[in-house]
Symmetry: D2
Subunit: 369 residues, 4 copies
């Protein structure tokens, strides 16, 4: 199988999500990371590239997009892993160069930026992928299958929550991750953008339903914080279903508490990201079942994305790698998976963020989505 050539924008020394993308791209051995503009600081960019053994290093993404497009052995795709406000410009540069874009979430810091990406995409021959990575967990795809084939019946209630505690106290500039994520200019929003979008996307992915109305109550509990650190959100769906999202970065004791619960008129299921290798499923009037990754009762579809036998836990990185694997399929033309979140998922996330901000400012009034 031909290996693909990957480039990266962002992800230099001190970054978090760039390292995750690199591991995810390596796990199934289908990408070689060969080019990068790893930092907006050229010295740091080249030092980072050297440390990582990346052959071609660029001072900036513009040069990288142009040069890589011109090379015979240029990159097939670029991963954009910068802070939110630095997604749009490189995304547009690579779309213009017809190089496939793998963009970390959320799509951008502002709705305006999102619109410019949308415009560039319309003119480009390249594909656009959003790493809403939690959709890559095999049991999330199992859950999606179960909903689709009617195991839960008509969906009534959707509960998603994503609770962390790492921003419980005041933060300072020395914490690079906390610093930009609590800066409205660079992040666009607080916990609703950083993690709330994941919960929103996951609920939509599993149910294949997008809400039509949204109401939000955002809070900033830490004195001086300029973005939201807690959000209570209500969702209304066209079929009459109702949902909630709880997103928080000040819930003491929660590490990465992404949970999904879905109830229909025939069945209900629950999944927790911190123990991702099982789904709890109940048909009404029958005992609960524990469906495990790779175990009995798993759907044919979900089996595709599991590498090792049941009881051998796969985790966050393997779920992330499933997206890279699907992207490799799509780019190689071997399998045009519809499961990888695309630009529409990114735009939905931006609408989610802006609607939450608007609703909360209007005392929780319902906003049409």
């Amino acid at each position: 199988m031909k290996r693909l050539k990957l480039g990266m924008v962002g992800g230099g020394q001190g970054a978090f999500i760039g390292a995750v993308h690199r591991i995810a791209s390596r796990i199934d051995g289908r990408f070689d990371l060969v080019a990068g503009a790893l930092s907006s600081d050229p010295a740091r960019a080249s030092a980072s590239a050297a440390e990582l053994g990346i052959k071609r290093t660029y001072d900036n993404y513009e040069a990288m997009a142009i040069n890589e497009a011109a090379r015979d052995d240029g990159i097939d795709a670029v991963a954009i892993v910068t802070p939110n406000h630095m997604h749009a410009a490189p995304a547009i540069a690579f779309l213009n160069a017809n190089i496939h874009v793998i963009c970390d979430k959320p799509l951008a810091a502002t709705a305006e930026e999102a619109t410019t990406i949308q415009a560039a995409f319309a003119e480009s021959k390249a594909r656009f992928f959003m790493t809403y990575n939690y959709t890559g967990y095999p049991l999330i795809r199992q859950a999606r299958e179960m909903v689709a084939c009617g195991d839960l019946g008509d969906i009534r209630i959707i509960q998603a929550e994503y609770a962390q505690d790492w921003l419980t106290g005041a933060t300072d500039q020395s914490n690079k991750q906390a610093d930009w994520r609590t800066d409205p200019a660079r992040a666009g929003a607080g916990c609703i953008g950083d993690i709330g979008t994941h919960a929103f996307n996951l609920a939509a992915f599993v149910t294949n339903m997008v809400p039509c109305e949204i109401s939000a109550e955002l809070s900033s509990f830490v004195p001086g914080r300029k973005v939201d650190d807690n959000a209570f959100i209500r969702l209304r769906y066209r079929n009459g279903a109702r949902g909630t999202i709880w997103s928080s970065q000040v819930a003491v004791g929660c590490e990465n508490g992404l949970k999904l619960r879905i109830y229909g008129d025939k069945g209900g299921l629950e999944w927790e990201q911190e123990n991702p290798n099982q789904i709890t499923f109940a048909r009404f009037g029958e005992p609960k079942q524990i469906i495990t990754r790779g175990g009995a009762g798993l759907g044919k579809g979900a089996e595709r994305w599991t590498r090792i036998p049941p009881g051998h836990p796969e985790g966050y990185l393997e779920g992330f790698a499933n997206l890279y694997n699907d992207i490799a399929d799509i780019i190689s033309g071997t399998n045009d998976s519809e499961l990888v979140p695309d630009l529409n998922a990114g735009l939905d996330g931006m609408w989610f963020i802006s609607s939450c901000l608007a609703s909360s400012e209007a005392n929780g009034s319902w906003i049409d989505l």
Copy 2:
């Protein structure tokens, strides 16, 4: 220790909560059930009393209140365990007879009924107790102690949920419990009254905080159902804390899923009724602790309400019995526990119900509580 004499209104054949009250009153051996008007049907009332070995049976509560008040060996207290719309009349009769009242929740089916109870109470020498029984769990009392002594710091987020699935499908009259609980005339409201009030009360009990504003989104998912079977509720507190309550009786796979999660700026705790013998507690920046009933780390206060060593699970009935034990203390004058929910807790519950109904009709607008 002198045993107290207990009477009961309701709780005849086919009833549920009456049997629970009887067991709860027996566990610590401080009450003898000696009189009853167990059914509004006199034949069923006397048959039920005979079956239970209750000496004095009455055709109706009016006669019972008058006669028992007149006897030298009359009852010390009466437990009212009828459907919601049948709480007010007997409660008033026994308050007028100066006999202590132990009333199941919610206080009444309507706010008007609640007001009449309040008026009778003001004129009575008797005490009034609400069996919001979940407050009797030792670890709930432990949680209250922990909040009070500052283990969690300033409270920011309160999450209570109470999810069941037994009303997932349409019900018919043959299910006596389902029948009256889904009839607006007898129940007053649906899941918000039947179980939402428990969640509301529990959050208030543990935090010692009552919300000042409330917003609700009620649903009736089952076709033809006349009361709510799912509710999403938001709470605002004077200190800036924010909360949610989720109450549902159509969440497939949930048996009696009452859960409480509270987060402050120093710590967080979680408790689940289905596994009530432990609290998960985290101080920010330290590993989570498992605090068990009777185990290490338990507060002195909570130890009072535990009968057996750690690891020997106590359950729902023992928690319920703790209320009866406290009530016995209060009536006997040995200990005027402030922990037993009283008429005010009942009235708060009625305000909760009516506010939820009002907010939901106003598309989720905030209602001052």
Copy 3:
């Protein structure tokens, strides 16, 4: 329903298991505790009786057996809740008086004492019950049903364990419970008698299989301790099945960790006493199921012993009360349940203890049971 009259030997001030028996006998309201010889110290005996409101107090069990047998309103049954070495003498006295005996476990401190009880029983008209209380849990009875009806197929592996930590350190005489339980003269053995017998009995109860050979490795980890505080035991069964029991009172972090795991050629089940309201059950090649007390999938048999709906946890005391309820049925003649452990179960327990001691002294050699 006629209430039965109960007496008690032992269980005075400072005792543990006596209070448990009293609660268990009250929960279903079928016994009145009317007579007692609560302590071998007459002053403490009468003080304890007064405190508990027991009408007839005796200085010693001999007088109690004779007098109660002679009264028209004498007790129907006696609960013997003394330390192990004080079981035999009162048991024999009441058997001789043809009063039913409810004896705490183990049957006695020595095999010789057990034999004398056996002889007295052979001459008596009374019944003999052993409160191996864990057999009273509804889901243990469910497990027994499941094994009996072949849900697990042919049984291959039986794992029982009972781990506590309360004897981790050296003990002194001020801890009354620890004192007698670590004294060979009063207890007969250490953890194998105190808790190992429970595990042994429970495995036999659920599988309806008694092992034919046993091998044991006993340890006394605490310096100066004269009885075992940890035991590793192997079991062989006639059908080729193999089992183990682990019993420990020095396993730090274990509160009352009684667990049972049984595997056959068709299915396997697991149960843990600290969360007793569920069984995990797997048919080979199918997803695991969670079978709950009162929930879907529960056997008709097990439903008999559950008082409240699923999700409302019952605990240790309700399980214990199920034995008292069954005993009331048997004494009243309404239902001759074969489920209550009887003298044979007590004798099996004594053989278990003596075989463990013999095997361990012989370096773990196999002993025929």
Copy 4:
């Protein structure tokens, strides 16, 4: 950082553990797989190599060892991932060629083979690594640190278990994995070799204690099976500690149930492989703690082997990759980690297997280890 060149023997189409080694070697990007003798069938070997994009393919390991040793760009290390009876010959060939060996467990099918490896190692300049991969889990290394620094006090009780159910029924030749693992000639032993050695190694790794005596009871429950499928093992340690290992491949409902429980006179800890991102730890007399991978309370040592923040689960593959990462450090000379299991661990495992077989044949007699 210089990337190392890796070769592989075994692991062609249809194999299991070879694919795991390949992923593990890729995760941290420190190895390139450049050569292989992936099958003893030359056609399958080259087809497998082509499929995997491996540049240099060999018909047999002898040619591979000689040629790779002769090349300037020859492999730095070889992974041997053949069935057990095919470990020794290639291991010796590569040791003779002074190429580092990464050998899957157990070391060999027989003690004789193990001895020949030992002899070759004594003459070689190469290092020898055993992929007892469960030692790579960060929290297992945390547990080892905790024992070493005295958090548990003097160790008294060690319980390891490894239960699976995939060999519950009879197997046939069509299941390639089951076929060789139940063939005495190719596997050497049954579940004690396949998984029991993992449990034995893990207990030794965490406690840094090797037992001095062993007693075993092996069973073959499936009719016609020629190797053990269930084993109960007892261990004695020089310091007086006692242990057990339970290993089974017929425990219905168990997927990959490797669990470790260790108790000392000051503390106890528990870890389960299926949920590997947490340790439960109790100091005697204090509440239990949940120590998470990456979370508060983690030792400095263990932090080295974690790639992503707490709550983002790492799994089996990352644990395996930690061994490859350590091996890369050792080969590169950057860090001579003593944590990677070496030839001695492999020999201990062989002694464990042969002692279990000997003890079980002698009716469970104690064997000096």
